[in-house]
Symmetry: C2
C-alpha cells in the first residue's frame, strides 16, 4: 500500500431531504387516484390540444430549482402546464394559442375514446401495475446473472405469446432442439434493425468463403448487399437500411397494397444479374397505411430459392390479432420466415415499450452483436441467455412483467375478446362508409383500421380531415393509398364501444 | 362506392372481463403498499439469489392461461416465483438450487444496500411516480404533434440539466443562435451510436465533395473511415462500430487508465498516412472499470486539428456528478466536444431508461436519421422538434416526466447532497483499504467507485471475490485495471450510510 496521505473527508452524514417510504405511501396512492380520475374523465377533454410549438417554455422556469419543491406544487404544474399539451379540457382558454392551424396532427390524447390516429398505444391497468413493480425492483437485466428472473420470465412469456399466436415451434425457446427464441425490444425499428444486422453479418461471412468473392474486403462486400421491402413497409425499414449502410430496393405492391412474390423474384433476378447480393427481405403483415398483408406464401419460396436471403416479417400491429383462431389465416406462409415481430404495445393492451421479436436461429442474431468485457462475463454464459447480445442497448428494464400481468389478467379469451371488439367496431364503421354515397372505402377492412375518402379530389379530402381534426373532438391522420390521399380511422381505445364509432 | 355485399357482424358488444377503474383504485394502492413493504425490508433479503439458469421454467405453466386469473394469484406468484430470482429472502430454501457456483455475477438485488456491482441503477420515489403518470397518459411522442408536452418538457428538462452540470451553452436548445439541444435516449449505447452515425454521414458527405475522393462510391469511402476509443471505453463503442460498419482503433490509455492526446495524435497520423480517414473519437469521463477520466484538454485540440473528427464524450456515470461545483473540474476540455451523454438512470436517482444526450449541432444528428412518410408529417415540422429524427426508435415514452419530478423533488441541492454522500462513503471505504496492509488500491477514488485487490495473484483475488459473492450478503464484480484482476466496490443504494460501507 502506497503511503500517500489519506484524503480527508467529513464523517458527518450528508442529509438528503427527499420523499421517504411513508411519503411515497401517501403520494403513490394519490397518484393512483389521479390516474383513476384522469381515466374516468378523459372523454371530457379535447382529444387534440390547442397549443402551438413552444407553448411550454414560457410556463416553466428556465432553470431547475435549487431547493426541493413540494409535491403539491409539482402536481399542480402537471395539471395546469403538462396536461394542456397532452389533452386539454374543453373550453380551456388560458394557454397560448397556436398561431397556425396544424391541419393533420395536432393532438394528443392517445387514450381518448375518439382518438383514431396512427395505431393504438397499448394501455391497461394490469400493464401499469407491472411497470410500477418493474420500477420498484429497479434491476437492469443485461445478462442472465444481472437479473435471473428478468431474463427467464422474458423467455417464458415470449414462448407463451408465440404459442398463443401460432408461431412455428422453431421460434420458441422451450422446444426440443430449437435454436429459436423470443426477446422484448424497445420498438419495431430495433427489431428490424437487429435482424438486418444479423442478416448482414451472415451474408458477409458467407461471401468471404465463396471463391468468387474471397478477394474482396468486407466493405466491398457490403457494397454488394441488397435489401428489399415494399413501398408500404414502415419507414423504419428505410432508416434501418441507412444505419446498416446497405442498399434497399423499395418494391411496388399490387393494387391492393400487397407485395407479391413475382415482384420480388423479378427484382432479385435483375439485381443478381448486375452483381448485387440479395440478403434481406422485410415484409409486413398489417401495413401502417392501410393494414394490407404481404403475400408470404409467394415471397417465402423466392427467398428460399436465393439461398441465404433472410425473410423478416414485421407484424407490429396485426401480429397481436393472430391470437384469435379465425385471424390466423392472415399469417399464412409464416413457416418461411427467419424472424417475426409484433408490438403488444400497439394492439395487445401493454404499455410502450414492448415489441416482441422471435428468431428461428438466435445464434445468428447474437453472432452479429456479441461484445464481451470482463465486468459482464459470468460462469453461466454458456447455458443462460444474455439478452444484451440480442439488442442494441445492453441495459434493459423488466418489461416482461407487464406482459405477463396482461396475459394472466385477461387470459387468452380476454385478449381475443379485445381484438374481436376492435374488429367488430371497424366493420361497423366500414358499413357506415359503405352506406353513404358521398364516401368510398380504400382498404379491405380486416382488423381495426378503416381507410376511406370523400369521393372527389385529394384537396377536398385534406380539407375534410382538417375540419375533423380542428374540431378537437376526433383525431385521425392521413395516408397515401394507391397514390391517393386517404383518411385513416383506427380503433384505439381499449374499451371502445359502438357509440364511439357513431 | 362498390356494391360488394356488406360483411355481417354481430351488433352485440363483446364483453371483456378485465380490471376496471375501481379495481385499479384498489390494486394500485395495494401495489404502492407492496412497494413500500419491499423497500422497507430489502436489507433482509439476500443481495444475490440462490438460483441457477432455468430455475423459473418448471415453476410456471408452459402456456398462457385461457381464462383470466385473479389478481391475488398473480401477486402470489410474484412473491414466490419472481422475487427469488430477483432477491431471495434469507434462509429461503424451497427453490431449485444452482448446480454450479456462479463465481462473480450471481445476483440480483440492485436496490439492496449491499449491492456494490456495476454502477448504480437509479431509483427514487419521485421517479417511480413520474413513470406511473407517464404510463397512464400513454402517449407515444415520435413527433411534436403526436404529443407536444412530451416533446417540449424533454427539451426543457434537458436544458435544465445541461445548465446544472455546466455544459457549454452551445449544447442548450434555448440559447440565442444555438443549433444544439438535448434528448433522452434509451441507453448510452444508443447515444454513442446515433453520434457515430451522424459523424459517419458528415464524413462521407465531406469526402464526396473532396476532389481526392470524388471518384469513390459511398461504400468505398466507408471503408476508409476510422473511429477511435480507449481500451477503457465501454464495450458498447465496439458494438456501435460493428453496427456502423466502421473500423475502430482501440488505443492504450496511460498507466492511470487515461487516454492521452499524444496517443490519439500518433494513431491519427499513422492512420492518415495509410489512407484512412479519422472521423470519430469516443472518450469517457468515468470509465466502467475504474472511473478514470480521459484527458479532453489534450484530445480536443487533436480532434480540431484533423478537422471533421467528431469528439464524443461518454460520461454515462460521472456526468451526473458535475452537478456539484467542486466536481466540475472533471469535465475540463468539454468545450471541444461535439456531443456528450450522461445517464441519470445511473447516478441521479432516475429509473432506467433515461440517458441524456446533448449535441452541439442537432441538424448533423437529424440529417443522418430523417425518414419522413406522409402519416408522420405535420405542419409544425419546421418550427418544432420531432424527436424521432434524433434516435433509432421512432416511438418514445414520456420519459422527461420522471426526470422533471426528480429534479424538482430533490432540487439541485438535494441532488448534490446525494452525489456527495456517495463520494464521501467511497472515500471512507478507500481509507479502510489504505489502512489494511493486506490490500492495495487500484484506482484514484474520485466519485463512488473504489477498485482494490488483495496483494497477491489474480487467482487469489478471484477466490476472494467468489467468497464475497457466495456469501449472498455483498455483491461486487471484477474488472481488469492495468492488466490485473481487480475488485470493484461501487456505491449504489440511494440512501447508503456509513454502516453499509463497514
Amino acid at each position: 500500500m502506497k503511503s500517500r496521505p489519506v484524503q480527508r473527508f467529513s464523517r458527518a452524514r450528508i442529509q438528503i431531504i427527499t420523499m421517504d417510504i411513508e411519503q411515497f405511501r401517501m403520494r403513490g396512492k394519490e397518484m393512483v387516484e389521479y390516474i383513476c380520475e384522469f381515466m374516468s374523465n378523459i372523454h371530457n377533454r379535447r382529444v387534440t390540444p390547442d397549443v402551438g410549438p413552444g407553448y411550454l417554455r414560457p410556463l416553466l422556469p428556465s432553470e431547475a430549482p435549487q431547493e426541493p419543491e413540494s409535491w403539491e406544487d409539482i402536481m399542480r404544474d402537471v395539471e395546469s402546464k403538462i396536461m394542456p399539451g397532452v389533452s386539454e379540457k374543453n373550453n380551456h382558454s388560458s394557454f397560448p394559442k397556436k398561431k397556425t392551424i396544424d391541419r393533420y396532427l395536432q393532438i394528443t390524447h392517445w387514450q381518448h375514446p375518439r382518438f383514431h390516429a396512427y395505431f393504438p398505444a397499448g394501455n391497461s391497468f394490469p400493464s401499469i401495475l407491472g411497470d410500477m413493480l418493474s420500477d420498484a425492483i429497479g434491476c437492469i437485466g443485461f445478462s442472465w446473472a444481472a437479473s435471473p428472473a428478468c431474463t427467464e420470465l422474458e423467455t417464458i412469456v415470449c414462448d407463451w405469446f408465440g404459442k398463443a399466436i401460432g408461431l412455428p415451434t422453431d421460434f420458441l425457446y422451450f422446444n426440443p432442439g430449437s435454436k429459436g427464441g423470443g426477446v422484448i425490444q424497445g420498438s419495431a425499428s430495433e427489431c428490424i434493425l437487429v435482424c438486418m444486422l444479423a442478416a448482414r453479418a451472415q451474408a458477409i461471412a458467407r461471401l468471404k468463403e465463396s471463391p468468387a468473392h474471397a478477394h474482396l474486403d468486407e466493405t466491398a462486400l457490403l457494397g454488394k448487399l441488397m435489401a428489399y421491402c415494399s413501398r408500404e413497409s414502415h419507414s423504419c425499414v428505410e432508416k434501418d437500411a441507412m444505419i446498416c449502410f446497405v442498399k434497399l430496393r423499395i418494391l411496388e405492391p399490387d393494387d391492393k397494397s400487397v407485395l407479391r412474390g413475382e415482384t420480388l423474384r423479378q427484382a432479385i433476378e435483375a439485381d443478381a444479374a448486375e452483381g448485387y447480393i440479395p440478403f434481406f427481405v422485410s415484409t409486413t403483415l398489417g401495413t401502417t397505411a392501410c393494414c394490407s398483408f404481404d403475400n408470404l406464401r409467394e415471397i417465402g419460396p423466392v427467398c428460399k430459392k436465393y439461398s441465404g436471403v433472410w425473410l423478416h416479417v414485421d407484424a407490429a400491429y396485426a401480429g397481436n390479432s393472430f391470437i384469435c383462431p379465425e385471424l390466423k389465416y392472415l399469417m399464412a406462409g409464416i413457416e418461411h420466415a427467419d424472424s417475426f415481430n409484433t408490438n403488444t404495445n400497439k394492439f395487445l393492451l401493454t404499455n410502450f415499450d414492448c415489441s416482441c421479436l422471435w428468431v428461428r436461429d438466435r445464434f445468428k442474431l447474437t453472432g452479429a452483436l456479441v461484445v464481451d468485457p470482463l465486468y459482464l462475463q459470468h460462469t453461466h454464459a454458456d447455458t443462460a441467455i444474455d439478452y444484451r447480445h440480442w439488442s442494441i442497448p445492453l441495459s434493459r428494464r423488466f418489461r416482461s412483467l407487464k406482459l405477463w400481468f396482461v396475459m394472466r389478467s385477461y387470459g387468452i379469451s380476454g385478449l381475443q375478446a379485445y381484438i374481436r371488439n376492435h374488429v367488430q367496431l371497424a366493420k361497423r364503421f366500414e358499413a357506415l362508409v359503405r352506406k353513404d354515397a358521398r364516401f368510398e372505402l380504400c382498404n379491405e377492412v380486416v382488423l381495426g383500421l378503416v381507410c376511406f375518402r370523400a369521393k372527389g379530389t385529394d384537396k377536398l379530402n385534406q380539407k375534410l380531415l382538417s375540419t375533423i381534426n380542428d374540431s378537437g373532438k376526433l383525431h385521425m391522420v392521413p395516408a397515401r393509398v394507391n397514390q391517393r390521399f386517404t383518411i385513416r380511422f383506427a380503433l384505439a381505445a381499449p374499451n371502445a364501444t359502438a357509440s364511439d364509432v357513431g
